[in-house]
Symmetry: C2
Subunit: 616 residues, 2 copies
């Protein structure tokens, strides 16, 4: 990047020139500028082998490193070698590296007006005022960051396609092609979110996927799009979700809806990524039968095997919506005959708005352990990028983008500790003790945030719409299907077979684990069980005391982290942002602690065993 | 008005011509068009007596009615005579009528951008897009409505003065003078809300009221303003309130702050109306000592007698903020040496957004009975007007504007039933049974709304910011000083001497009435007392059962009212609006009923004695 922030690539001080149009030429440029700085004795040879595609192999003999790979593979290999040399870590193993997943996607939620839905790093890098508006140097810097961790698809606009963003695949195609050309030398292909009802803007009175005029419109439009951008990765669609149009309007199921678009894309090699975030967002809160987390499974699983082979169903990691703690989405475990992508959210919508520190790697590991890496064939992550000076908003939020790249390349080698350590080494040259401090803060941050916010998997006790700060009843009497039903005696939803039956959507092992009080993780207790405040947890504490303890401990962690960060010798620009946000995190954590504790104190009447303050 | 809506003056079909520039000429015009229609045998003589000012006297001899009065008094008398004749009511008594209060004000909360703060009747009648934008015919129609019920001041802009509204007393003066000229023939003078820090827009680095440059700036500016509009009623100021600038910034009290402006206005006969809505809007919710309703008394009462004689302190009717049920503000009872105005809110901010029917006359009567009409020398009311086809939003909201006029003219002759009856007779020619139905709905509407919203004076269980619909904990953990502190055992705030001491701000009679469980009205129980759910009310019901009963009854009233309205032969334009809003009121009432009942059910665990549904 051309700012003070070069993130985990501080050894690259020069921007990649616009004149370089192939990944191989970029690789050579980057190595040439970096090597004299990071390993002056070393030489690197690039050896093209197109049969390897995105893969690469690294061999070292004495002072010569040879990277063999396909064209993009050479670039990936070059970044990995540079990072390893700079960090003093061992080179990528002397065997072929292939990405685990073919599509490693970043999904921008950028609107054409320049606003970003759930964006916490400033305005859009792509759009402003209803038109394209970008700094090509900055986009090239972003492309470099993506390539450095192996990310290869960027969906540039919000899944909620608002006028005039539909023009991206119409009269904005020439500009879209220009943006695609910026990313192409970095092995990054663009994707576009489209409006399912888009034909209706063109005199067709329906968007019914079985209607021939609709099909003809999409067929022709795909031809036009691919004439402009032959390597477009495809379309991303949010249909029949939160008031978006979709096939349900016409009495069609989502296989019928997706396949129509997939067939239009197929001649050009395009993918149709279809989000499965479908639920009733107008639920009556009085209804105790409908259970929102069950919705995706109900809408999709029976369609397994009916999707075209270029359809990818994109399913959020948990069945709700990116809460601090969710079990893996059962839909991901129930569609063996369907291409699936897991969707993460780097944007810290429910996890601190890039004000609070929240490193996500631990969550990914846990979910992937329950899921199994082979259950999905792609990964997507909602972007945490924006136009702020630090494009991740919080300098530490970069670790999530960085780590997500490593995860989507090789989920078996993206342990949270390794990711945090490598990122810290690359980003900041700290001494061992300070580096330990920073890595410790990152690794602990998720647990701390979880402790001071909604307790034990209960979710959603957050300020409506904004999703920052506590509001224990904020969603309780709303139409969003997100209830905790706290009362004077108990809290939580029974989602076992005796309750809503959600747990029955899992394969036996997970079903049994979640359904039994013996084995259900504490952190998911109130997700799966309704429990009395005097319920005795496995460690001997009552539920209410555990809630109190967690909240006091979570806040104490923030106080301690603030002290540690104050002493940490970070670069000035980063430090200023980090400390300013830490002040806000501390205020936020204190509010969460006291509001949640008081909320449960008022219900339960239970005093804290340690006599700490609760407020009536 | 030049629309279908002529409100309570249906006998006036022609607009008042712009050429008429005196109240007397308007009076003659109106009588000339109305009399042939409403009393063809009658003749009316106008007899000017300038010693009577705004007052008038009506005499009837045979078929001749003589109205004697000052110039504006003749107009007031003419409207009263026409309304009485049309309604078939007896003429204003054969003795002099003088208004009880010198200033009978409507306060617009219109912003220069055309938005209205707490406006529920569409956009501003005055402004749009950061400039004046009005229909002179419509403004003349509004002036007629004001004059017909004796209102004589219109403050045309929001007390929260946002750029560019400060220009009203600067380069917008020529246009302000044009608007003043529209209202002048109707006896209505304009007032302007000003920004206390306005001198700081002109190179002065302070707004300190004791600073000579500040004083000189205001002195000169008043000279300029009154040169343009010699009969301007004065300035309205919201200072040191909800982040508005004010004298506190400079360590000055509000007498020092107000008197500086009053002295600048005095040479020109202008009034300085100074709002007393001052409280700490950044309270820590954990703080149980600070009690927001006590704030105005604390800030103002010790200054009694220190204000210039052209200062009027404008105090909201209750000490909180226009809640459904509040006791009279103790500040109004504690400043005998100060000019006071009571401020009502016709805009239904907390009382149903002009969607729900809510006639306010009963509230005014009760407050005035506790206050005593002589405690204040003026009245103000926040406007419920806007650019909608029906300028009151809801056709029935007109009764509040109409009734407020009668109240501010003569509070001893504005009984709720009389006002509703007269308004109904004038507005709709219904047969006796239908008129009874309509009057009944109006008179009962306030009690019904009160029953289905927050219970028994507890206040504030409303969706934050928006203030429509239930959110029982919406303000509970916020900084606004508005708490109910509901717990598993009890709800409400003890504001007696044993609690926050708020009740001690009253004279002995009210203090004793509110402090004793024997005499405190049920409707204010939880305002003044913290009570257990099993507390037995005077009628033998428990508090929790009373809450349940009220909420079920409130909703049932709405269902019944909807049926009655469906059968009521209202004019088509009115009926369409009334029924559409009634559908929304019913939905709103159902949500309130079930959310509030469930909220207290979850705390108390108490079942409804009648077995009606409550939701866990």
């Amino acid at each position: 990047m051309h700012t003070d922030f070069r993130y985990w690539l501080p050894f690259l001080t020069e921007d990649v020139p616009a004149a370089l149009t192939t990944p191989e030429s970029v690789a050579r440029f980057e190595l040439k500028q970096a090597l004299p700085r990071i390993a002056p004795d070393m030489s690197v040879t690039l050896c093209r082998d197109d049969s390897m595609g995105e893969g690469f192999r690294v061999c070292r003999q004495g002072n010569t490193i040879t990277i063999t790979g396909g064209e993009v593979g050479l670039l990936y290999g070059a970044y990995r070698v540079m990072m390893a040399l700079y960090a003093g870590e061992k080179l990528p193993a002397d065997h072929a590296q292939q990405p685990k997943y073919a599509l490693r996607m970043i999904d921008n939620w950028d609107n054409a007006d320049g606003d970003i839905e759930r964006g916490y790093s400033g305005r859009s890098l792509m759009f402003e005022g209803g038109r394209f508006d970008y700094d090509p140097i900055r986009l090239r810097g972003l492309a470099r960051l993506m390539a450095s961790v192996g990310l290869n698809v960027l969906c540039i606009n919000n899944v909620n396609v608002r006028n005039p963003a539909h023009r991206l695949i119409e009269d904005w195609l020439p500009q879209l092609a220009e943006v695609a050309a910026i990313f192409r030398p970095f092995g990054v292909r663009l994707m576009v979110s489209i409006d399912y009802a888009q034909p209706m803007r063109h005199g067709i009175d329906t968007a019914d996927p079985l209607n021939e005029r609709v099909q003809a419109w999409w067929n022709e439009q795909c031809r036009v799009v691919y004439a402009a951008i032959p390597d477009l990765a495809g379309f991303l669609v949010k249909a029949d979700s939160e008031h978006r149009p979709g096939p349900f309007t016409y009495g069609r199921n989502h296989a019928e809806g997706a396949n129509m678009l997939a067939r239009a894309l197929k001649p050009f090699g395009g993918n149709l990524v279809w989000r499965c975030f479908v639920y009733n967002c107008q639920q009556d809160w009085r209804d105790q039968v409908t259970d929102r987390p069950m919705a995706a499974y109900q809408h999709y699983v029976y369609l397994d095997g009916q999707f075209e082979d270029n359809v990818i169903l994109q399913v959020k990691n948990g069945p709700f919506d990116f809460q601090v703690r969710e079990p893996v989405s059962p839909t991901l475990l129930a569609m063996p005959e369907t291409n699936l992508a897991i969707e993460w959210q780097l944007a810290q919508e429910y996890t601190g708005h890039q004000i609070d520190i929240y490193a996500m790697m631990g969550m990914w590991q846990e979910v992937m352990a329950d899921l199994g890496a082979d259950k999905v064939m792609a990964m997507a992550a909602v972007s945490n990028l924006g136009r702020d000076e630090c494009i991740f908003g919080h300098p530490f939020a970069a670790v999530n983008f960085f780590g997500y790249g490593l995860l989507s390349w090789d989920p078996d080698n993206a342990a949270a500790g390794d990711v945090a350590r490598l990122w810290a080494k690359l980003t900041y040259r700290l001494d061992a003790k300070d580096e330990d401090t920073l890595v410790g803060i990152l690794l602990e941050s998720r647990g701390a945030y979880e402790k001071y916010t909604a307790p034990l998997g209960v979710c959603w006790m957050v300020v409506p719409h904004e999703h920052y700060g506590p509001s224990p009843d904020g969603y309780e009497y709303q139409a969003w299907g997100t209830y905790h039903r706290a009362s004077r005696d108990a809290v939580g939803i029974d989602r076992t077979a005796k309750g809503t039956g959600y747990a029955e959507q899992y394969p036996a092992e997970l079903r049994d684990r979640y359904s039994s009080l013996e084995t259900c993780p504490d952190e998911l207790l109130l997700w799966f069980q309704r429990q009395r405040y005097d319920y005795v947890m496995r460690d001997g504490r009552t539920l209410i005391q555990r809630i109190y303890d967690d909240h006091f401990e979570g806040y104490e962690w923030v106080e301690a982290a603030e002290k540690k960060l104050t002493a940490l010798p970070l670069p000035e620009a980063d430090k200023a942002i980090v400390m300013e946000r830490m002040t806000r995190q501390k205020k936020n954590a204190r509010e969460w602690r006291d509001v949640i504790n008081s909320f449960f104190y008022r219900f339960s009447g239970a005093e804290d065993e340690k006599g700490r303050p609760l407020y009536l």
